[in-house]
């Protein structure tokens, strides 16, 4: 079975001064449908950069990214945006919610863009917020929510339409331990229901809950490990593929 997302000789370089600094030095790896992968490494290793390439937020210098068998190299920005809208969910480090929109409205907005009716979108938003445990916070604006709650709203936004891949860049970095734990548990629960997740983190504790841990250093993959959960035989999600 083809991988859900696959990178081949992925290179990202920036012009810096008179030279070129290569941040990603030919990354080859793939993520299967239903897999939970964490990308770890030191600060500056290129974790975020890798995630931006894979999630089509950025344009690689060379190399290929295939999603569901489709090579994305020659896609226009418009096509990529459509991909991001329909197939991806994003969770950023700093929540990134529109300050003027309530929790529900923040989720409704991208759903409207996908041509759902307002009523449908509202129902989906309420459902997603309930799933992240915020059923009682539907109509609060971000400033009325704690950091942990805001992050859960942003997770709800990401998963409202059951994306093929959920991308998360340091989703716990701004949170206290308790809220971070809630977020990680949410990810595990989503994963248990078959959600593919690619999460960047530098916190060992959270990185290890994934199925696989990709370690980056200076723009190259230095190791791929199995996550700790696979030592304790936890319930395996039905759709999950664990080939390695």
């Amino acid at each position: 079975m083809a991988a859900l997302i696959e990178t081949k000789k992925l290179v990202k370089a920036y012009k810096s001064g008179d030279g070129v600094s290569t941040i990603l030095k030919g990354i080859d790896f793939s993520v299967e449908r239903g897999e939970f992968v964490s990308i770890m490494g030191r600060s500056g290793a290129g974790k975020s950069t890798l995630m931006y390439q894979m999630s089509l937020l950025d344009e690689p210098t060379s190399g290929d990214i295939s999603i569901d068998g489709t090579n994305t190299r020659h896609m226009s920005e418009k096509e990529k945006a459509a991909f991001r809208l329909r197939k991806f969910g994003f969770v950023f480090q700093d929540y990134a919610l529109m300050p003027e929109l309530t929790a529900t409205e923040n989720i409704v907005l991208p759903l409207l863009m996908e041509s759902y009716t307002f009523t449908q979108a509202q129902a989906m938003a309420a459902d997603a917020l309930t799933r992240v445990g915020l059923g009682h916070r539907l109509h609060n604006v971000p400033s009325q929510l704690s950091g942990g709650e805001q992050q859960r709203v942003s997770i709800a936004r990401a998963i409202a339409e059951q994306p093929e891949i959920l991308f998360a860049d340091e989703p716990t970095a701004n949170l206290d331990r308790e809220s971070a734990k809630v977020v990680i548990d949410l990810f595990l629960e989503l994963h248990a229901h078959g959600q593919t997740i690619i999460m960047v983190t530098h916190e060992e504790e959270y990185g290890h809950v994934a199925d696989r841990i990709i370690r980056l250093d200076e723009g190259s993959i230095v190791s791929i490990e199995k996550g700790v959960r696979h030592a304790h035989a936890r319930k395996q999600p039905t759709k999950k593929q664990s080939k390695k």
Partner: protein, 419 residues
């Protein structure tokens, strides 16, 4: 470019941004829009109204709706009695007044003048002979007599004098008019017409705007002027006609011309009779008003530009995120366009309510008392709505440019706050 979907998403975003932004900021922006709108309409409206006030005064006091006057080749209207009685029989007519007008002069203080080399206190003036009752019914001229009283039927050797001929009211000397000093009701003055001089008493003084047709004329009874000017054939110089409400003055003028009056006299509507310059001044003021108020339009555009620019700039990260999760850039642009439009439309709407609900009716009931005219506010509906469209267009452009500037920035750079 802006598909329905983009408009829908943009609207969703815009409306919530407007609703949840600070009431004070929103009110302030709307206030700027309101002032701009009023500036656009009122400056031109008042300038045009200023001239309109002059026109209205001429129509009220001199021309009426239709005026019959001496042909350029004659000194008076031939067949005057027949023409007047014909006009009086027409059912469209509300009031008619006939006037004898001759150039003459008025002199005061001649009795106290001791030095024969001293310049006489004398002024040229149009001496107008009227039937006081008919003239007052026509224009309410008696109301303008603020000192002394108006002529009564049968008054002889009495005159009523316009304020520009009286030193203490006039603006000063203008060519042909040298105001009389130390005169008031009861003063004895000399009127000279066609070489004939007669001593009369000033009975009253007519006070009105400097450019009122009344303010530089001397009125006396028609009977006396006839004898003074040797006009014994009852041939008048002007017949001014006020029509009943709703009667079309152009049609009535045509009727008079067709019925033969045109052979003996000039027949004009008030619009034709009012001095040519007035219309030119009106058009000049309209251009001037537009020029002045377009400065306001630029200020409003800049206001909107800054408001939207700051809004979008402080939300650059969110805009990046929205684009990141797949919201189309156009939808975000629409959101800002709609916000700009909201400010302009709400501002204009409040402006329209103030304008037509208060300003226009109030000023028309209580014209602004400016020295040259009782100024009204002229705001034709079509032109006013055109200004609303102009304001909305200007703010749309002013809002679109900064929104576009921010929205088109690289998505990832916006998310990460990079340049």
């Amino acid at each position: 470019m802006f598909s329905l979907l983009n408009i829908r998403v943009g609207w969703f975003l815009a409306w919530r941004q407007i609703r949840r932004s600070s009431v004070w900021t929103t009110s302030l922006i709307i206030f700027v829009m309101l002032l701009t709108f009023l500036n656009l309409v009122v400056v031109t409206g008042i300038l045009v109204g200023l001239v309109q006030g002059i026109t209205d005064l001429y129509r009220l006091q001199e021309t009426g709706d239709v005026i019959v006057s001496t042909l350029d080749t004659k000194n008076y209207i031939e067949q005057s009695p027949q023409i007047i009685s014909f006009i009086q029989t027409l059912p469209q007519v509300e009031h008619v007044t006939a006037r004898y007008i001759v150039n003459g002069s008025i002199e005061a203080n001649y009795k106290t003048r001791t030095d024969p080399n001293e310049k006489p206190n004398e002024s040229g003036a149009a001496i107008v002979g009227i039937d006081p009752v008919a003239e007052n019914a026509f224009s309410g001229i008696a109301r303008n007599v603020e000192e002394g009283s108006f002529l009564a039927p049968g008054d002889f050797d009495s005159v009523v004098v316009g304020s520009q001929l009286i030193a203490k009211y006039s603006f000063g000397e203008i060519p042909g008019i040298r105001p009389l000093k130390n005169v008031g009701p009861g003063s004895v003055v000399r009127i000279t017409v066609n070489g004939q001089t007669r001593e009369v008493v000033i009975k009253g003084i007519l006070i009105d705007k400097a450019n009122s047709p009344l303010s530089s004329q001397v009125f006396m009874s028609a009977a006396q002027l006839r004898t003074l000017a040797g006009r014994d054939d009852y041939s008048v110089n002007q017949v001014a006609i006020r029509l009943k409400k709703g009667v079309d003055e152009v049609a009535f003028k045509d009727l008079l011309v067709r019925s033969g009056v045109g052979r003996f006299a000039k027949v004009q509507t008030f619009e034709q009779a009012i001095p040519n310059g007035v219309e030119d001044v009106k058009n000049t003021f309209a251009v001037l008003g537009n020029a002045i108020s377009s400065v306001g339009l630029v200020v409003a555009s800049i206001t909107i530009f800054i408001v939207i620019f700051i809004n979008a700039l402080t939300r650059r990260k969110f805009i990046g995120i929205l684009k990141g999760i797949g919201i189309s850039p156009q939808a975000i642009e629409v959101a800002y366009l709609l916000q700009s439009m909201f400010y302009a439309l709400v501002g204009s709407s409040i402006g329209l309510i103030i304008l037509f609900g208060f300003l226009v009716p109030y000023i028309s009931a209580h014209p602004i008392n400016l020295p040259i005219s009782n100024t009204v506010l002229v705001a034709p509906v079509g032109e006013t709505l055109l200004r609303v469209v102009l304001l909305v267009l200007a703010t749309l452009i002013a809002g679109y440019i900064p929104a576009r500037m921010i929205v088109k920035k690289n998505t990832l750079d916006s998310i990460l706050g990079r340049n």
